[in-house]
């Protein structure tokens, strides 16, 4: 009994020290911490916009258009007299909601495809990866435009469009990790105990292949935010009057020389969000890289 307890303790300590190791290494990465702080700030905006700036992001005040930043409207008002700050905070929710959902879709589907392809190899791998090659051959923005043009613009269509276009990236990363893991001795051991393929993949392969996937998630969110903003900029994003940073940029571009603030604030928000997720991704990659443990 005492022997069993001590083994459990040892496992627990090992787990704690692995996570502690990761946190310690991540903390050393100043860029990663800055990225995380910015993301937390955007997450707070996305989770509590009504508490931060009020619920009314859509009401127009046509007699108060193009009001430059002042005490009442810190970021000014737009072409329809709406408060830019309010719309930016609500825009954070739109951008993060779509990008996180899109990345979740692509991560889940891409990981499933990658695991199956990498684990079974052979013909299965060949077929799945060629399908992914086809997906990769289509530029993500063009694919997004085609999907939105075919199905109309809504948040769900955008999530689908963005999600589909990043599946290939996840599947390739996951496949390469699985290939290096599938021939490890502990996988052989699991197989020898009679574990099913599903159990082996979910219990032993996937947990050990997560590190690059986590990094890819962070990077994909950044790319997704940019793509959504791009689609919104050309009028294929979220339907009006839902605030979205890309469409705010697009609205302001005609008056950029007279009312530059309308494009500066959402532009900076997009830049900061993308920058933050990239910094976080870099930080995570460094912290999760076993070669940098020393």
């Amino acid at each position: 009994m005492s022997k069993e307890m001590s083994t459990a303790d040892a496992i627990s300590m090992k787990k704690k020290s692995q996570f502690g190791d990761f946190v310690r290494r991540f903390k050393k990465n100043k860029g990663g911490i800055v990225g995380l702080l910015i993301i937390v700030m955007f997450l707070i905006c996305a989770l509590f916009p009504a508490q931060l700036v009020g619920e009314d992001y859509y009401s127009q005040d046509l007699s108060n258009r193009y009001c430059h930043p002042n005490a009442e409207h810190i970021f000014g008002t737009d072409e329809l007299g709406r408060d830019v700050l309010t719309r930016m905070v609500w825009g954070a929710r739109t951008s993060l909601e779509i990008s996180l959902s899109a990345v979740a879709v692509s991560c889940i589907l891409g990981t499933i495809v990658g695991c199956i392809a990498g684990f079974y190899g052979g013909v299965t791998d060949n077929i799945l990866m060629r399908i992914m090659d086809v997906l990769m051959a289509i530029p993500s923005t063009l694919l997004g435009i085609s999907i939105v043009a075919a199905f109309g613009s809504s948040i769900y269509v955008l999530i689908f469009a963005m999600g589909i276009s990043s599946i290939a990236g996840f599947s390739r990363i996951c496949r390469s990790s699985v290939i290096t893991i599938r021939d490890q001795e502990y996988i052989e051991a699991a197989r020898a105990t009679g574990a099913s393929d599903f159990r082996i993949i979910t219990k032993y392969v996937l947990p050990n292949a997560l590190a690059p996937i986590i990094v890819q998630i962070s990077m994909s969110i950044a790319a997704s935010i940019l793509s959504i903003s791009g689609l919104s900029f050309i009028g294929l994003g979220v339907p009006a009057p839902t605030p979205e940073w890309g469409s705010m940029l697009s609205n302001g571009r005609q008056v950029i020389r007279d009312h530059a603030y309308i494009v500066i604030f959402p532009g900076v928000a997009i830049m900061l969000a993308v920058f933050a997720f990239n910094l976080l991704g870099d930080g995570l990659r460094d912290a999760l890289d076993p070669r940098l443990k020393s």
Binding site: L62, L80, A149, G152, I234, P239, A240, Q254
Partner: protein
């Protein structure tokens, strides 16, 4: 002294001759100054093709310079002038005879004859973009008398036929070349009898035209004419600011003062025929009850909508057609021209009809002004109890004509200058967004287009406009100004606010270099 004066004269003459021969741009016959080799204009949209049947504003300028029509319409004096036809005569209400100009050649050297006219018009019967405008034309019974006389037959009397024959969809193509190369190739490499001919067309960048030396009207004053495509209005302003362009079309109202402040440039602006309207589909049961339509119309503050959408670049309409058009007279608000904005009454009507929360899809084409207008209309309608969703269509495939799915409500723009052409959107045969199913309105429109009596037309136009206003399926709200940025030293350039640019007479434009 005499010798000295003679020598001086010889020298001056010699210098004059040298100057006359110098430079590719040559010079203008009335001036010793060199002519700028190429006039560069920047415009927003690239034409889809340069075929002889113009169906977009983007084709307006190049086609005007490449092709000619039977007649030319002067918008200022509202008169018809000879072009490829020198004389015309109504034989009866259904036959119009034209005597054609002799000795005219296409830019490829082919002779222009009556066969080219009949061939070009016959093409309009199979071109989907021209069918509605040319429904009156009877190609079977039209005929030529020799090479230089043609008689056009009508399926029914059609008042605007003369104006239709002044270009746009009725430019004359070279039959021989057209049949030889096919429609697609012809549209890409057009051959016309106009003052310029195509030199090059770089997709996405520019169209360069060069002087057509076989033009019967003489010689265009500037050797080359370049049309650059710059989609962003801001970038077109920058093209003027940097001196890259001699003229920029479609400047935004908020940039007008800026352009005026540029050294060597000024702004020309004027009321155009382009207007914007909210449309409800007449076949949609949601709008079958007139009270619902009245509520939708009373909910919109036309002044606020126009001002906020166009930022001072447009005026509020007072009747369903632009104010410059034949027969335009104040109709709104019982003849005052003022739209009744009454949100309280609108809300009461919504309650009375029991349509609170009724969902409406408001469709728009992608474009800044459509989006802004749609958001404002959405707020007005939502305030009185509707639930409006905006649907943006980026691709033509999602337009009702292509997809077969009619739009419930939409915002569209119109651009014609003649009253029948403007009102064609209400014709049941036109289909599209309004989807007219009202026989009375159809009859009114048919009667109007077949009436040649000017006095009678005035009454008919007024009655038709009043009826359109009363049924409230459309809410025409803004007529826009055309704003161009133009170089101060460009000569021969007569500004025309007609957004179709058909009568800019760009062959007269010239810039003399110091």
């Amino acid at each position: 002294m005499k010798k000295f004066v003679s020598l001086l004269l010889v020298l001056v003459l010699a210098m004059g001759m040298l100057a006359a021969c110098g430079g590719e741009g040559g010079n203008d016959g009335n001036s010793n100054k060199a002519v700028k080799e190429r006039i560069i204009v920047v415009t927003e949209e690239e034409p889809a093709h340069l075929g002889p049947r113009t169906n977009s504003v983007a084709q307006g300028i190049p086609n005007r310079l490449i092709y000619s029509a039977l007649m030319d319409y002067d918008y200022d004096t509202a008169t018809f002038n000879p072009d490829l036809a020198t004389e015309w005569e109504w034989l009866d209400d259904l036959h119009l005879k034209f005597k054609l100009r002799e000795g005219v050649k296409f830019s490829n050297g082919e002779d222009f004859t009556a066969e080219d006219v009949l061939f070009s018009f016959a093409q309009t019967k199979t071109d989907s973009t021209a069918i509605s405008t040319m429904a009156w034309y009877d190609d079977v019974n039209s005929y030529a008398n020799g090479d230089y006389e043609v008689v056009l037959a009508f399926n029914y009397p059609y008042f605007p036929a003369m104006q239709v024959l002044c270009g746009g969809r009725t430019y004359i193509a070279d039959k021989t070349t057209y049949e030889k190369v096919g429609a697609d190739a012809y549209q890409r490499e057009p051959i016309g009898t106009g003052p310029y001919k195509l030199q090059s067309w770089t997709t996405g960048s520019n169209i360069v035209l060069e002087r057509n030396d076989t033009w019967y009207g003489g010689q265009a004053k500037t050797p080359e004419f370049e049309i650059r495509f710059v989609q962003e209005a801001n970038s077109r302003v920058i093209a003027l600011e940097t001196g890259e362009a001699d003229m920029a079309f479609y400047i935004n109202g908020n940039d007008a003062d800026r352009v005026d402040s540029f050294d060597g440039y000024h702004i020309e602006r004027g009321r155009a025929y382009k207007y914007y309207t909210v449309c409800l589909n007449m076949q949609n049961p949601k709008f079958a009850d007139r009270r619902v339509r009245e509520a939708l119309s009373l909910a919109i503050d036309l002044d606020a909508l126009t001002d906020a959408t166009f930022d001072g670049q447009a005026s509020v309409m007072t009747c369903p057609i632009p104010s410059k058009t034949e027969g335009a007279t104040p109709i709104y608000g019982g003849g005052t021209g003022k739209w009744e904005y009454d949100p309280d009454k609108a809300a009461a009507l919504v309650k009375e009809c029991g349509v609170e929360g009724m969902e409406i899809e408001l469709h728009i084409a992608s474009g800044g002004e459509f989006k802004t207008a749609a958001e404002i209309v959405q707020q007005f309608w939502n305030k009185v109890g509707f639930n409006v969703h905006i649907e943006t269509s980026k691709l033509a495939a999602r337009e009702p004509a292509a997809s077969g799915k009619p739009w419930e409500a939409s915002i569209r723009s119109g651009n014609a200058s003649e009253v029948t052409s403007i009102l064609i959107i209400y014709d049941s045969a036109f289909g599209s967004r309004i989807g007219n199913n009202d026989d009375k309105l159809d009859k009114m429109l048919d009667d109007l287009e077949q009436c040649y009596d000017l006095e009678k037309r005035k009454t008919m136009i007024k009655e038709t406009l009043q009826y359109i206003y009363d049924i409230r399926y459309t809410m025409p709200f803004a007529e826009v100004d055309t704003i161009f940025g133009i170089r101060d030293d460009i000569e021969g350039c007569k500004f025309s606010p007609s957004i179709s640019l058909w009568n800019l007479e760009a062959y007269n434009w010239v810039i003399y270099e110091d």
